[in-house]
């Protein structure tokens, strides 16, 4: 009986899975998009809208149709990068939206002829990047809550910083950023990330790893005797704006909620503006700058990332009417999932240093190319 029920359930699921797989090409335009299209000059040349042409991206007549196969394949690459190297996957997702799918080049054609359309497409690209970070934070923060790892004071101030930053970024930049400006800033941040990756490969950057290896030998035995500390949980002992004390496993740690707010503000501003960076920057900030243990930081920062991304996506989409192209997001999520499944199986065959070397080269190339094109209009690479 149970077997029959299982088979019927699986058949039902198969029916559901095969039915609503994708969306039609003709996505209806929202008011803001319709206004932007109306302002564009009519015609068949670049930078013009041919109202009789087939609708493409976001339902814009004559816009490129995002090839979902290309989108899927690129997203598999992004998922692979996420699960082997980590942070660089977000940058690769951004590169997909900007370059691989042809959206950036399309937005640029309206730079002088229809600036409103140029900026609308740019905002759509930004929000598309944000979806990925927000989704991961949602899953992470739910799990950490059950493990008593959330520090309310830290989370609230990080979240407040994130909230102010996203409101500021959305209301000052939505509909105002040209694609070239976005591309330039994206490139600059990627270049800085590439710089950090290069630093980590230098002897000075590696010295921290050597200290950690020595420390592992020193404390391994102690850890074995203590057993599992994760069931302890975190408690807040004292709270003030200047200094908050928390206790974990009998140890006291302090942090300043003001610094948490400042960090949350700047990191969230970058994440809201570019759609990258918020996810992984919180934890290194809180562990390296604020000095909190990773155990405490991980869950709380995931919650803050979630708050920041929800506000950013909400403000962009609900209040500013920015649209995303759902079929592209859907195909990307499928591809990222597939890539993340494959990554662990293949990553072990490639040495970590080789992987890092490849991504350093990519970061420097993308950073330089986008910065030159975005800020200076130089198409060197």
């Amino acid at each position: 009986m149970r077997k029959t029920m299982t088979i019927f359930m699986l058949l039902g699921v198969l029916l559901i899975l095969t039915a609503p797989f994708v969306l039609p090409d003709n996505v209806f335009a929202a008011d803001k998009l319709a206004e932007a299209i109306a302002k564009a000059p009519a015609g068949t040349e670049k930078g013009q809208i041919d109202a009789t042409a087939q609708p493409g991206f976001l339902g814009i007549p004559g816009a490129p149709k995002v090839n979902l196969i290309v989108g899927l394949l690129w997203a598999i690459w992004v998922g692979w990068v996420f699960s082997t190297v980590g942070a660089f996957g977000g940058i690769m997702a951004g590169v997909g939206h900007i370059t691989i799918y042809g959206l950036g080049a399309y937005a640029k054609t309206f730079k002088d002829t229809a600036p409103a359309l140029n900026k609308f497409v740019t905002d759509s690209i930004r929000v598309s990047n944000q979806w990925l970070v927000g989704l991961s934070a949602l899953v992470s923060s739910l799990n950490y809550n059950k493990q008593k790892r959330l520090v309310p004071a830290l989370g609230i101030f990080l979240g407040l910083g994130a909230l102010f930053a996203t409101l500021l970024v959305v209301f000052t930049t939505a509909g105002k950023i040209k694609f070239s400006q976005y591309q330039g800033w994206f490139g600059l941040v990627v270049f800085v990330i590439g710089g950090f990756m290069v630093y980590e490969m230098t002897p000075k950057g590696q010295s921290g790893k050597k200290k950690a290896q020595a420390a592992v030998k020193a404390f391994e035995e102690t850890v074995k005797k203590k057993g599992d500390i994760t069931s302890q949980g975190v408690k807040t002992l004292k709270w003030s704006l200047a200094k908050t004390e928390i206790s974990f496993f009998g140890q006291t740690f302090t942090f300043s909620p003001i610094w948490a707010f400042v960090g949350g503000f700047f990191i969230s501003a970058i994440a809201s503006f570019l759609g990258i960076g918020g996810g992984f920057l919180y934890v290194p900030f809180l562990t390296s700058v604020v000095g909190l243990p990773m155990f405490v930081v991980a869950g709380t920062s995931a919650l803050s990332v979630l708050i920041g991304m929800i506000f950013a996506i909400f403000n962009f989409m609900m209040l500013k009417g920015i649209m995303v192209y759902w079929p592209m997001i859907g195909a990307e999520l499928v591809g990222i999932f597939i890539g993340s499944m494959i990554g662990p199986r293949t990553g072990k065959y490639i040495p970590n240093k080789v992987l890092k070397g490849i991504f350093i080269v990519l970061a420097l190339y993308i950073g330089l190319r986008y910065t030159l094109r975005g800020f200076f209009g130089i198409a060197m690479l």
């Binding site: 149970r2 699921v13 029916l15 559901i16 095969t18 609503p20 994708v22 969306l23 003709n26 996505v27 209806f28 979902l68 998922g79 996420f82 699960s83 980590g86 942070a87 996957g89 990925l132 989704l135 991961s136 899953v139 799990n143 059950k146 493990q147 921290g208 790893k209 200290k211 020595a214 420390a215 592992v216 020193a218 404390f219 850890v223 599992d228 500390i229 994760t230 009998g250 140890q251 996810g279 992984f280 934890v283 290194p284 562990t287 243990p293 990773m294 155990f295 930081v297 995931a302 989409m317 609900m318 759902w326 079929p327 859907g330 990307e332 999520l333 999932f337 993340s340 499944m341 199986r345």
Partner: protein, 185 residues
């Protein structure tokens, strides 16, 4: 590929709109249909991510054990007063966490991939449908809101309901255990 996808969409549309035509009241129909759509998204997402967790369970456990070990080491260093070792080990734990964080993005994609397709389908049917908002919501969200405003809260509600159903469902019980204790080897 587009033609084949349009044919699939045609059949999907017929299947999905059925849930929006169950009663005589259009608003009630919209809510019921959207709840059904949201629940389908939850179920499909859960099934997808369960494949990931089963397929890569060993890798996931290895990562969790690595993070756990490095966290414990950093706390021991802090306890002994060795700040240099604490900072170095904390960084190692952070790097290990970072790898897991981005792997979670992949798993999250598995959980949420049906949503854009559902929202995209709703866009074809309900793009022009607006719901008047009462005070004080109208102060924050404006005078009216569209289908996304209804879908997302209902999706969250379906997720919460599924959370309570999951321990009772034969296949999903094991998945819940993996999700609840990712840091335990």
């Amino acid at each position: 590929m587009r033609e084949q996808l349009d044919i699939l969409l045609y059949h999907a549309d017929g299947f999905l709109i059925f849930f929006y035509r169950l009663t005589a009241d259009p608003f009630v129909n919209f809510i019921i249909g959207t709840i059904c759509l949201a629940f389908m998204c939850v179920l499909i997402g859960e099934l997808t991510v369960s494949l990931a967790l089963k397929y890569n369970k060993g890798y996931f456990d290895e990562m969790a054990a690595d993070i756990n070990r490095k966290e414990n080491l950093s706390i021991s260093a802090y306890e002994s007063g060795d700040k240099t070792s604490y900072r170095a080990l904390n960084k190692e734990a952070t790097d290990a966490w970072g790898k897991r964080f981005f792997t979670m993005i992949g798993y999250s994609a598995g959980m949420f991939w049906p949503l854009p397709f559902a929202l995209g389908w709703m866009q074809t049917r309900f793009q022009d449908v607006q719901f008047d908002l009462a005070f004080p919501l109208s102060l924050i969200f404006g005078e009216s809101a569209g289908y996304t405003f209804i879908f997302i809260p209902l999706y969250i509600l379906c997720r919460i309901v599924f959370k309570y159903l999951r321990p009772k469902l034969p296949y999903f019980r094991g998945i819940q255990k993996i999700l609840d204790h990712p840091e335990k080897p």
